[in-house]
């Protein structure tokens, strides 16, 4: 199993295939928000394993701490108090990279190999190749990557690719006391989610469901939601995320076409010079003047 999961499916700014002969299993993290108690053990475990620390902040009347994802906080419990079906609900969602099958960050990145999608589905940033342009931030439909003020590199959840590569589950999974977080093959996680959703429906959550948005090809971090019909209740989880069309146009077919057009202009000039030739002042014209 060693290094198997590190086979590469796609690299940023790379137009030829990466080594991808082997066929590892697609992995996924399943976040069952209905089981989450908001203890933030996952946040602590993430910082512990990845050796990052968040600055002590200020309380603004919410348990949410820090207030947003940062270059040091790659996962964040987002707390929302909402009224649904006539009573108060406290919805807690562990936010972080969704590890899209079609990652907008990777599509937008101009630096070869700064963003890698492993064949097991993990999308990872290789900060040593990052040039700090922030294009991945424009590409992401979930507003996840954060540019560090210290080193101008971008950071986000790695799905503990280093742990997964050696057969361990991500640190957050290991720390979760209620098994709201589970990790395994994407197929198994979908089966597990289906059981949980059936249970939730029995308990009266008619709209319980799985969040595995197809607009980005599905994700390798999935949610079980009690209100799958209204994902935006969970601190604006996007209903139908897509790579923004402006990013798709910018990074799609237009750039190769633009390069060809410019090469064509140069070639056109050259052929004009060869075919028709320069526009010169003839000698008799000069003499005529004199």
């Amino acid at each position: 199993m060693a290094l198997q999961s590190l086979d590469i499916w796609r690299r940023s700014a790379t137009t030829t295939p990466s080594p991808s002969q082997r066929e590892p299993i697609e992995v996924a993290k399943l976040i069952d928000v209905t089981k989450c108690i908001g203890c933030k053990a996952c946040q602590s475990a993430c910082q512990e394993w990845n050796d990052v620390r968040e600055e002590v902040g200020v309380n603004i009347g919410s348990y949410q701490n820090p207030h947003d994802l940062t270059a040091n906080s790659w996962t964040l419990m987002r707390f929302a108090e909402i009224e649904e079906n006539g009573h108060l609900e406290w919805l807690i969602r562990k936010d972080g990279c969704m590890h899209c099958a079609d990652p907008g960050c990777l599509k937008a990145c101009p630096s070869p190999g700064a963003i890698i999608q492993y064949k097991n589905g993990i999308v990872d940033f290789a900060e040593e190749n990052c040039i700090g342009c922030g294009y991945c931030i424009k590409g992401c439909p979930f507003n996840i990557p954060r540019l560090s003020k210290e080193d101008s590199k971008v950071y986000k959840c790695t799905l503990c690719s280093d742990r997964v590569a050696v057969g361990l589950e991500p640190a957050c999974i290991k720390a979760c006391p209620t098994q709201a977080l589970v990790f395994g093959s994407k197929e198994d996680m979908k089966d597990h989610a289906a059981e949980r959703i059936a249970e939730l429906k029995e308990r009266g959550f008619e709209n319980a469901g799985l969040y595995d948005p197809q607009g980005v090809g599905g994700t390798h971090v999935m949610y079980v939601l009690h209100h799958a019909d209204k994902p935006e209740l969970y601190n604006e989880l996007p209903r139908d995320p897509h790579i923004n069309p402006m990013v798709a146009v910018w990074k799609g077919i237009t750039k190769p076409l633009a390069l060809m057009a410019m090469a064509g202009a140069v070639l056109g000039g050259f052929f004009h010079y060869i075919g028709i030739g320069p526009n010169e002042v003839e000698e008799d014209e000069e003499e005529e003047k004199a």
């Binding site: 700014a13 790379t14 137009t15 101009p110 630096s111 070869p112 190749n129 990052c130 040039i131 700090g132 342009c133 922030g134 294009y135 931030i137 424009k138 507003n143 540019l147 003020k149 101008s152 923004n244 402006m246 990013v247 146009v249 910018w250 237009t254 750039k255 190769p256 633009a258 390069l259 057009a261 410019m262 202009a265 140069v266 000039g269 004009h272 010079y273 028709i276 030739g277 320069p278 526009n279 010169e280 002042v281 014209e285 000069e286 003047k289």
Partner: protein
């Protein structure tokens, strides 16, 4: 005019020439560093600037220099670049232009319609590149703008860079194609016969002593 001799006519003074070449040098640096990030096939151009991060750091500062320098050119030359009726006719006869049938074209003054259109293309694209460049300038300014504006800005930046570069390809080729032109921007002077042939309207005004 005192700066004109029997053989040569003054087209650009030293300030104008220096202004042009500062703009041209920064343009080349911007094209090399910008195209490095435009498409993966050109990422190797970052090596010219000391690697990817240095390319990202330097590009916007060079851009500011170019914008300021180009503003100088725009202020110097805009009044020579107002399109006239002759220019419309000139553009209709593009096939004659391409085939060097200059005798069939309407009278050209200091600049022909192609040169004027290039000027206005630069007027449209360079300030747009400047504004969108500020918006996508990491890490200083991007955090102050909404994400979708940022996405729009980066798209417009690439689009304007393409239009400007294509324009400059035409500009450079025209200087190679029409012999005797380059001298105007290097020495500042052109031959009288060159002016008569390519800019007869301007030549008439020079003879009348009314060339500014």
């Amino acid at each position: 005019m005192s700066t004109h001799s029997d053989k040569y006519i003054q087209r650009y003074n030293a300030q104008e020439r220096l202004n042009h070449w500062v703009t041209a040098i920064t343009f080349i640096l911007l094209i090399l560093s910008g195209f490095a990030l435009f498409h993966p096939a050109l990422f190797w151009l970052t090596n010219l600037f000391g690697g990817g991060p240095w390319t990202r750091i330097l590009h916007p500062y060079i851009g500011v220099v170019m914008f300021v320098s180009f503003s100088g050119l725009a202020l110097r030359f805009w009044h020579h670049n107002i399109l006239s009726k002759n220019d419309v006719q000139w553009l209709k006869q593009i096939p004659d232009v391409i085939q060097n049938h200059e005798d069939k074209l309407p009278e050209v003054d200091r600049y022909n319609a192609g040169q004027k259109l290039l000027f206005w293309t630069m007027i449209a694209t360079i300030p747009t590149l400047f504004v969108t460049g500020i918006i996508i300038w990491q890490p200083w300014f991007t955090p102050f703008f909404p994400r979708n504006l940022d996405r729009f800005a980066v798209l417009m930046h690439a689009l304007c860079a393409f239009v400007m570069s294509t324009g400059i390809i035409v500009h450079v080729y025209a200087a190679i194609w029409v012999k005797g032109t380059l001298r105007a921007m290097i020495r500042g002077t052109v031959e009288r016969a060159w002016v008569k042939k390519h800019h007869p309207g301007w030549y008439k005004r020079i003879v009348e002593g009314n060339d500014h």
